[in-house]
Assembly symmetry: C2
Homo-oligomer: 382 residues x 2
Amino acid sequence: MLIATPLSMTFDAPLQLQSGASIHGYSLSYETYGTLNADKSNAVLVCHALNASHHVAGVYAGQDKSEGWWDNMIGPGKPVNTDKLFVIGVNNLGSCFGSTGPMHTHPDSGKVYGADFPVVTVEDWVNAQARLLDALGIQTLAAVLGGSLGGMQALSWTLQYPDRMRHAVVVASAPNLTAENIAFNEVARRAIVTDPDFHGGHFYEHGVIPKRGLRIARMIGHITYLSDDVMNEKFGRELKEAVLDSASGYRYSTQEVEFQIESYLRYQGDKFAEYFDANTYLLITRALDYFDPAKPFGGDLSKALARATCKFLLVSFTTDWRFSPKRSREVVKALLDNQRDVSYAEIDAPHGHDAFLLDDQRYMGVMRSYFASMARPAEVAA
Amino acid sequence: MLIATPLSMTFDAPLQLQSGASIHGYSLSYETYGTLNADKSNAVLVCHALNASHHVAGVYAGQDKSEGWWDNMIGPGKPVNTDKLFVIGVNNLGSCFGSTGPMHTHPDSGKVYGADFPVVTVEDWVNAQARLLDALGIQTLAAVLGGSLGGMQALSWTLQYPDRMRHAVVVASAPNLTAENIAFNEVARRAIVTDPDFHGGHFYEHGVIPKRGLRIARMIGHITYLSDDVMNEKFGRELKEAVLDSASGYRYSTQEVEFQIESYLRYQGDKFAEYFDANTYLLITRALDYFDPAKPFGGDLSKALARATCKFLLVSFTTDWRFSPKRSREVVKALLDNQRDVSYAEIDAPHGHDAFLLDDQRYMGVMRSYFASMARPAEVAA
């Protein structure tokens, strides 16, 4: 069994952010799995999405059910094989899972950042990750890998540090958010910000948490992670507790739980509100909204991706309506316009956006063979 | 110009509801357009969806911009031609637009219903509509017409009163909600119910309105009414106000409006929260959740629709992901299984669920020809 150990590194020098602000005296939490080889050529960076962290694989010693969020994908003998590869998971700035975020104190003022934590972007995260690699003495990555928002970071890596990586693996992602994607983020943010317990983002000092808003945000998110089909299959119109002496079986209540899907969503919302930070939610969804590498090129993604020189694997899932295959195909086309080496797998899976975290034989097979070829000595040495 | 006059009728006798409760001393608001012919054979009942009322067509005298919600469809010379047909719009029980609802007082106690307003179903609404027709002396309808939730009422009419109608026109509707549909309703309801100003549904006596929750509910609803495509076309990633001296143009704020789509949604939410009743929102979304005519038949829609004897027109729109064409096709198939006379038009329109309220040449053409054939004397007399 792979035992994971959380590590932390502090950076004193200011990191210039895209917004014009900067941050200094911050820490990044990270974990590593496998062994860095002698020429430091087998490192794979894993970037995380909204509700995840540096704890990508393995378990914590003595802690049951502490598997990393991509433990099915990464580990000894797994598709991303840590017997061959040195995998690094890093928690992003602004998170609530270890790295410096809104819940932490500003190193100068000693006050909790709260809503004053600087707005961070995908590009900022990538810059912070590059600094971590500097500190670890890793100049060139075998690959950057990410799903969803993590895939955006992998894509941004190819543009910000094209010489520091050989492969980008971009799963269930998109070159930017659509208006509908932004709309869902905005509703979630409004639910949080208009919760009376939010206090303009300075709720910590009031000893409260905007749980109502966080619950709504999570419920909305969860709907968009699943496909209509898988929701129908898992829950359909099943009732939580049918009323046996009624012909319809319904309880006829507008506020009580009636259908299983309601019970499931409420549970997901309640759980999330217990551990996720409201300011982090705002920051991460905003980073999603802002990401748009084609923007400085008048929306021309082919021009934007001309800087990328590494090899690419893109993967999408047919029932993912949050980041649909169409969006991955846009990236593939833009890379082909630049005559880049790109592989693309469109996996016919029923699970919607969540599919990127689940076991699917074809998906796992594609990932396994791509990373296996990457780990071959001939190429690693190239 | 068609001048509309709102009417009201009060019903003293109790109406038995599906939940087991009953309601008495209630009023229904309605409007009529055109002239009922001598043999009372040209009446068309129009059923409304979530955010609509009895004011279906025409304008109110002296009131600018007071067009009824389906004024493009219904009126003199329009697809549902009031020169030939006698059209009745009725506001449903539990609404906040005129008919008795949660904001009104219980006739016995004199207290505002609030959260104690009985849970009403599509079937209850249809029974109340049938009583109104009794009072108007109309035994048999030429047609029942409705879109979305209104289409569910039209469908339910064919099962509850198969002998009282010759045609059902069911637009952008479904034989029941999917788990995803229920999920969106539930998030909206949770946003309302957990708003501290909701006070368990008795907010009237506290002199407040749960506007935060209503805003969120409306924003969620609005996203599901539009297609991804039309949102991208109308708003895309346009910024509300680009920062001209920034390379990105972004303001870098998590709480301010940044994108046009955010501005649009906030506006829609604010507007809705000014006029829509929170308890009505709960009631109407619950009626949507509950509707499932196949339920007493073990989910077999073909068996359920065997009772329906009228002729049918079903219309769906390709980009409607709330009530997708697939759902209309389920109804068509079930009717064909019963060898019913059914016409079906699947309109290739970009506007999502909202398409049923918009002008589209093919859609309007289909409706016009269907209602024209219905109004022909030969058939009216048949």
